[in-house]
Each structure stands twice: as C-alpha cells, then as structure tokens.
C-alpha cells in the first residue's frame, strides 16, 4: 500500500479554507451564468426559425427583469473570467518577438484592446451602423 493511500480524502469544503481557492472557484463558477446566456441565445435561434410570434415572445422574455438580471450577471462573469484568463495567457503562451520575450503586461493590454475593438464593432453593427 502506498503511504498516501492512508491519508484522509480532502473534505468537500477544501476550497473555503483560503481566499485564493475561493477566487479560483468563483472563476470556475462563471460558467453557470454564461451557460444560461448560451441557452437563451439557442432559444432565440429556435424562436427565429419558428416564426414571428415565437420571436416576439422570445424578445419579451429577454426583456423581462429576472432575465436581464441573470444576463447582466453573465456579462459581469464573462468580464471577470476574461480578466483572469488574460493574466494567465502570457504565462501559458510566452510570446517572443525576434528572440526577445514579450512583457506580460503588453500581452494583457493587447487582449483588452482586442475586447475593446470587438465591442466597438459589435455596437456599430447592432446599433444600426451597418444599415
């Protein structure tokens, strides 16, 4: 028998012991509101296929207070997840230009710049700029 097999298993509450672990679990839990948002989008696509009445119902559903609240939470969760992901990215994929390592802050800043660009393009598209 290996010595470690005699160790008691970690309690389910292991992640409550340190704020670092709690932050990790929050990061992982961001998937829950995002899952809700993804299901909403899928329902929207189905509603679109079904016809106008179904689509108007979906629009009303998306505009209701609890759904707005949950999707607001999903937006906050995705921004928090992005914040953690952008910081981890340069450590996982250290980039080099002409043999010199790129500073981590530059990679993080470039990713946020990417978010800003995508947001601006989306706003322009969906606010009727493309019409």
């Amino acid at each position: 028998m290996h010595p470690n097999e005699r160790l008691p298993p970690l309690p389910r509450s292991w992640w409550l012991k340190h704020r670092y672990f709690i932050a990790y679990m929050v990061r992982e839990a961001t998937v829950l509101p995002l899952l809700f948002f993804a299901v909403c989008l899928l329902a929207g696509l189905i509603a679109l296929l079904r016809g106008e009445a179904s689509w108007m119902n979906w629009l009303a559903f998306m505009g209701s207070a609890p759904v707005l609240l949950l999707n607001g939470l999903a937006l906050a969760a995705s921004l928090y997840h992005a914040w953690t992901f952008f910081q981890l990215f340069p450590r996982v994929m250290p980039l080099r230009i002409a043999g010199r390592p790129l500073p981590h802050q530059a990679v993080v800043a470039a990713q946020w710049a990417g978010v800003a660009v995508v947001t601006l393009i989306s706003l322009w598209l969906f606010m009727g700029g493309a019409r």
Partner: protein
C-alpha cells in the same frame, strides 16, 4: 528581545494515535525566522520535537511546513510578519511520519518518473555542451526548483488525487524539455500526456504563489498542456 507564543502540531506515534497541539514561548526579535524558533524549542524547551532542516537559506528545501495553513519554508518565514497567532503544521497532502516530518516518497516517485536529467545518447561526455545565453534563458526560471514540495501542499488536485504528477515534477520535466542540450522529450511526453500528467491540473495557480524560488510551476504545467496537445496531434497525423 520579547517572546512570542507559537503552536506546533505534534504527532508522536509511539505515544498517541492522534496528533495534538502544543504551545511554546520563544524569544523573538526582528530577525527571528520560524526555523530559529523551532531550533530554540528543540535546543532549550523540548528535545522531543522532530522537524527537518539544513541550509537555513532557502536552498536545500528541507524545512517546509504549513504556517497558518499556507505552505512556507521555515527559514524564509519571519515571525515579525505574524503579529497574531502562529500555527505550525506538517506539509499538507503528505503522510505525517512524526511531528513536522512528512513522507515525501510519492513526490520523489513522481519526480523520477519524468526523468529530470539531461538525456542525450549521442553526446560525447568528454566534449563540453555548448549553450547560448538565449538558450539558457528559455528554461532557467524552471531550473530554480529546490524540490521543497511546498507546491504539492498548495495543490488541491494533488490533495484530491496523489497520483497526479504534480507541479514540481512537471516543471522539471518542462525544464529539461526546453533545454537545447537535451534530447529526452520523446521519453518524457508519455508521462505528461496521461490524465495524471499535465491534464489533472486545473490552473488553480496556488503552487506558483507559494513557490519560494519563483519557479512558476503553474506556468510550466500549462505550457506542458500546449506541448502535450501538439504531441498528441502530431502523433495522430503520423498514424
């Protein structure tokens, strides 16, 4: 010089089955390390206390303990930074043998499994291995590991499944894989590709927070995932 009260988790298997807490009063000033305090207990108060130490300068990696639940090197931890209580326990996720001494056998097994040495069957031992500063810079950070095991005590995935190779072993595998003098990557990848290899890591990242040598094992493990994915894809296309 004032005194400070520290609590140590004792485990004396020939006296009691259960571990118990014991309090000691130790003299402290601004330069008193936790290891100094343990040495004071051993020499002046209670010679039955068992713990490991050697270099007292964060090089040997022997004096790892949990301080208020966080893995630390005793020699690199100063009591001046703990105005309140100080609880000292053996490193988490390892079986305790006696007092603050743990059995690190499984860590040593994981370490040996990834062959953390230069593998170059074609090399002529009489010839020096040349390496440029740029080639050295690619792995140098990961070569600073002192095998203290703090990262294993910080890692909940290792705590949940001790078969996980763990941060230090994977960091050292990655260190040799990145070394221009090494040609052993093909031998190490099967270990890293396993579920208990790099893929058990969920990037909690606490291993890198507690590392006393700033090795950033979490980065090494997750760079290892990129390598593992590449290795698997290439093997798939080769058939």
């Amino acid at each position: 010089m004032s005194t400070k009260s520290i609590r140590i988790k004792r485990y004396l298997p020939e006296q009691a089955e259960e571990a118990f807490w014991q309090r000691y009063e130790v003299p402290v000033d601004d330069s008193t390390s936790l290891l100094d305090a343990l040495n004071h207990v051993k020499e002046e108060l209670d010679s039955s206390l068992s713990y490991r130490w050697s270099c007292r300068m964060a090089i040997c990696g022997s004096c790892g303990v949990m301080v208020n639940g966080i893995p630390k090197l005793g020699c690199k931890t100063f009591l001046r930074d703990y105005p309140d209580e100080v609880r000292i326990e053996p490193l988490a996720h390892f079986p305790v043998r006696r007092d603050l001494m743990v059995d690190m056998e499984i860590f040593l097994e994981h370490l040996a499994a990834v062959k953390p040495w230069l593998i170059d069957e074609a090399s002529n031992a009489a010839e020096p291995n040349r390496q440029t500063p740029a080639q050295l810079a690619r792995y140098k950070q990961f070569a600073n590991c002192i095998n203290c095991g703090l990262c294993y005590s910080a890692c909940p995935q290792f705590g949940l499944n001790p078969e996980f190779l763990g941060p230090a072993a994977i960091a050292l595998a990655h260190r040799y894989n990145l070394d221009s003098r090494d040609h052993g990557k093909a031998q190490r990848m099967p270990e890293l590709n396993r579920h208990e290899g790099v893929w058990s890591c969920t990037f909690v990242g606490f291993c890198s927070e507690v590392c006393p040598k700033h090795v950033d094992p979490a980065a090494a493990v997750n760079q290892g995932k990129v390598e593992s994915a590449k290795h698997t894809l290439i093997a798939l296309f080769r058939g």
